[in-house]
Symmetry: C2
């Protein structure tokens, strides 16, 4: 049975799992979660993931949520993206936790506040606060990529797949590639990989559907 990933195009956390699946060579298919119509809050979806989040991976009897856990499972199945030594493996995990804690958490929220939340509910102070947190994280990432093609080792790992989750999106959210030259170059390395796809090409659903 083909592995299914419940996801939607706007979700950078879904993209981390979808891109890992796509680049791993595993056979998988995307199942659209109509997040913006509240599908993730339905009882059916809550049965899949009580946290009401995407992505969720279903592989036979196994159901996994949290993009980081799905990425670790893809590594377990394919031997890819996890680092090649115990030291690299720990460094990969470090970036995954850092990304979840400091970067994607801010990037996803800031992008939501600036683009998907109805204008009447937007608050300039709250947006500025979140942009500030995000930009502090982007600076750390940019410095870590100085002189390096990949965050850990000689090729793409879950560290890169996690940290890039929100950074290919075109909507404004306080991130401009030209302001972070190392991030810009590194995103170029990722998008040059054979099989790479933009989130809106890799997963169903994008803002123009709702325009």
């Amino acid at each position: 049975m083909t592995t299914k990933l419940y996801c939607f195009g706007e979700s950078g956390n879904s993209y981390k799992a979808a891109l890992a699946l796509e680049l791993s060579g595993l056979d998988w298919e995307a199942v659209w979660v109509d997040f913006f119509s509240g599908a993730a809050r339905s009882p059916e979806y809550r049965a899949l993931n009580v946290m009401g989040e995407a992505p969720v991976l279903v592989d036979g009897d196994l159901t996994l949520s949290q993009s980081g856990v799905i990425q670790m499972y893809i590594t377990e199945k394919t031997g890819k993206f996890g680092g090649t030594t115990p030291e690299e493996a720990r460094e990969v995990m470090r970036w995954m936790f850092w990304d979840n804690h400091k970067m994607s958490s801010q990037a996803g929220m800031t992008r939501f506040l600036m683009n998907f939340l109805p204008e009447k509910h937007r608050n300039a102070d709250v947006i500025a606060f979140n942009v500030g947190r995000l930009q502090a994280a982007l600076k750390v990432l940019d410095q870590a990529l100085e002189g390096k093609d990949w965050l850990v080792g000689d090729g793409i790992t879950n560290a890169d797949l996690s940290c890039c989750g929100y950074l290919f999106y075109p909507e404004p959210f306080g991130f401009e590639r030209e302001a972070y030259p190392n991030i810009d170059r590194w995103l170029g390395n990722i998008s040059a990989l054979p099989g790479w796809k933009h989130p809106y090409d890799l997963m169903p659903g994008n803002p123009s559907d709702r325009a």
Copy 2:
């Protein structure tokens, strides 16, 4: 050589690692990071952790940062807190990622904004926004603990050690134990464990030092 944990009492992320070390039975000592005087931004500390964060664990030649990675290392060394089956291990990782992404990230920031940021810099809208995000996470945690003593399996794991990181602190940050009866009961289970210590007793540094 004794394992060293660079940490400070106010840091819930440090507490996750410190409590895991303490309950694991490993020999360790705390090294105070004078975070509020900017010690984590010093060149010496940046050499230890370029992200300028606490905690950092130093065990012989090994230097690790990110509480989640330190927790995984303690599990590797002791066999404790990682779950007893592959399914449990994934479920433990799921809660660790969820905590980093959705809960501690908000709890730490909200507590900082409400208590440690000078009053003149506090913004009521920003605080309300962060309290809202935190309370949504607390609700998910409270529901997950319904009828359960521990998040995963029959005893304490890294899931509990991660999620409780900020929840024993006395300062106001939008969390009151009595509003979340399952969390309240579960925190009681944790603090009843032999060897448990409150963050301000387990690690050096607390707000009264700076009063």
